[in-house]
């Protein structure tokens, strides 16, 4: 049996959009009545190779529009892939959708049925899942302080999210896939949700996959991270390894190694100083630099926010990490 809860191989999802543009002259008048028509391909997911170990808390990180939600929709069988393969709990979402959905809780759009109250939604949802637990539903309604008699459309954003989570948790899923669960929530609610997810769900050996761009939250709960940008997974590693191995090394010297080596993630040169982002074996790399006559100015550890910025190629902008967190 596979040790992976989710696996994708070269997964692709391309959207085709049709553009019709009128020919406009420099004076702002329509030059030709004809339309210029062309198709544009948006590569929402572009050859994604992802491996989510069973029992892990996997933080799926990416900027807005990086392809996180599309990937989750593909895993849920809501969208059809353009190419590639994927497996959820060892099953193919295209052919085994129902067994996957029986064992997996998805929280994607955070929009349930607007006209139903929390209690109605529990009643509605109960019939779909063989392992549904009314006791768990009642417990989370109390713990998360959800007004279950109010219609979904009248609930606050925080309570709507909490209700979505309640339904996913009470279905007795082995795997929970959440798309930006804390987006738009205040810190108290965020803390409440993360506690429930980690203490009640993940600590029982079940797999939690959450996408987010709130790096501090992911850093707090996740043990694996995957960073996606422009539909490609740029980094996938155990978070402890990422923290332990990623180092920023600033060096002065001549004939320094180029970026092609596997262990060097990135190189930047400015004002005579070269900065390396080294992803593993930093000691060996420093020894090599010194043997070439270089002077190592400093070696500093990196937090997840800094690593994220370097990985998605925005490290030059020096965005304060607090902004992202």
């Amino acid at each position: 049996m596979s040790d992976l809860a989710i696996q994708t191989q070269s997964l692709q999802k391309h959207y085709r959009s049709f553009h019709a543009v009128l020919g406009i002259s420099s004076q702002g008048k329509v030059a030709h009545p004809s339309l210029h028509k062309h198709y544009h391909f948006l590569r929402a997911v572009d050859g994604l190779d992802m491996h989510v170990p069973k029992g892990s808390i996997y933080g799926f990180l990416g900027r807005n529009g990086a392809g996180k939600t599309t990937t989750i929709r593909l895993l849920a069988g809501l969208a059809h892939p353009t190419g590639g393969r994927m497996q959820v709990l060892g099953l193919d979402p295209q052919t085994d959708r129902i067994p996957i959905l029986e064992r997996t809780g998805f929280v994607i759009d955070k929009m349930l049925i607007p006209s139903m109250t929390g209690n109605d939604l529990v009643r509605f949802n109960r019939g779909f899942f063989p392992r549904w637990s009314d006791a768990l539903a009642a417990k989370y309604a109390e713990v998360l302080e959800i007004p279950m008699k109010q219609k979904f459309r009248k609930l606050s954003t925080g309570n709507q999210t909490k209700l979505c989570l309640l339904l996913a948790l009470a279905q007795g899923a082995e795997l929970l896939i959440l798309d930006e669960p804390t987006a738009g929530l205040d810190p108290v609610v965020t803390d409440q949700l993360l506690r429930v997810l980690v203490d009640d769900f993940a600590n029982e050996g079940r797999t939690l996959f959450l996408s987010s761009h709130h790096l501090s939250e992911v850093e707090r709960v996740a043990d694996w991270v995957g960073i996606i940008d422009h539909g490609k997974l740029l980094l996938e590693e155990c978070l402890d390894d990422v923290r332990a191995h990623f180092r920023r090394v600033r060096v002065v010297g001549e004939n320094l190694p180029a970026v092609s080596r596997d262990q060097i993630f990135k190189t930047k040169t400015s004002e005579g100083t070269t900065e390396y982002i080294v992803r593993n074996d930093v000691d060996g790399f420093i020894a090599q630099l010194r043997s070439q006559g270089a002077t190592v100015l400093d070696v500093s550890p990196m937090n997840l926010s800094e690593i994220f910025l370097e990985v998605v190629g925005k490290g030059e902008a020096h965005v304060p990490v607090e902004v992202l967190a």
């Binding site: 069988g77 994607i108 759009d109 049925i113 607007p114 019939g127 779909f128 899942f129 979505c164």
Partner: protein
Amino acid sequence: MYLWKYWRDTRIIFSAAVLVIAALFIEILRERVGRVADAHQFANALPVFLLLQSLPLGFLGWFLGSFGIGRDLGEGSGSFLCSRPKNRSYFMWCSWACGLMQLLTIVALANMVLWFQIHRLLLSTGDASHGQISFPDGTSLSLISILCLTCAIVFLLVALVFTLTFSLTVVMKNVRGIIYGAGILVGYMILAARVTHYWHTVRLPNLAIQQFAYSKGQVAGIADHLGVSMAVRLAVILLFPFATQIVLEKMDI
């Protein structure tokens, strides 16, 4: 599960329709039955009865067609529903079948009320024809047969309107399907009228099945090929949900 949800969404419309029919029935009971001079008048009145109920019931079918999975997709609940462990077609067929059952109930109730009134009027004539309605061409049908026939004809029309709107609402993933549904129906009627205007011999199939044949402006009897017309209509009605199912299964939600 989903049937319960569909019932929750439509129960007010269904109950309102049943209440209107009940009010009509009470009104009929309160009315004193006048004397009808000639039992043949019933035959002439039948197409009028058909038209009278087709318009409000067609409107009801059009409105009910906008409920179900299409409306849910439009309201943004699609990803929630379609991540329940059921086939997408389950949600579609459930709402389609439940909507049709509601319409069938309403059509049957409305026709029973009309049948009751005709029965009373028939009795007032002395019922010389023993519960039979005679047509000028000599054919005669029992009141029960006419009730069943009218019920089936009206239901097929209402079901066609319902199914068209339902399918468009799903395909468009939006309640706007109700507008497109109406547009297509009106457009078809205009097209049929224009075709007949320019090519006198060409007639596009009528939306409402011609239940009775007309001769010199009079209702002559049961139309030829009525069974064929009904079978074709039924096939068209079933074609829509099957096509919608294919679209829904291939759709990205």
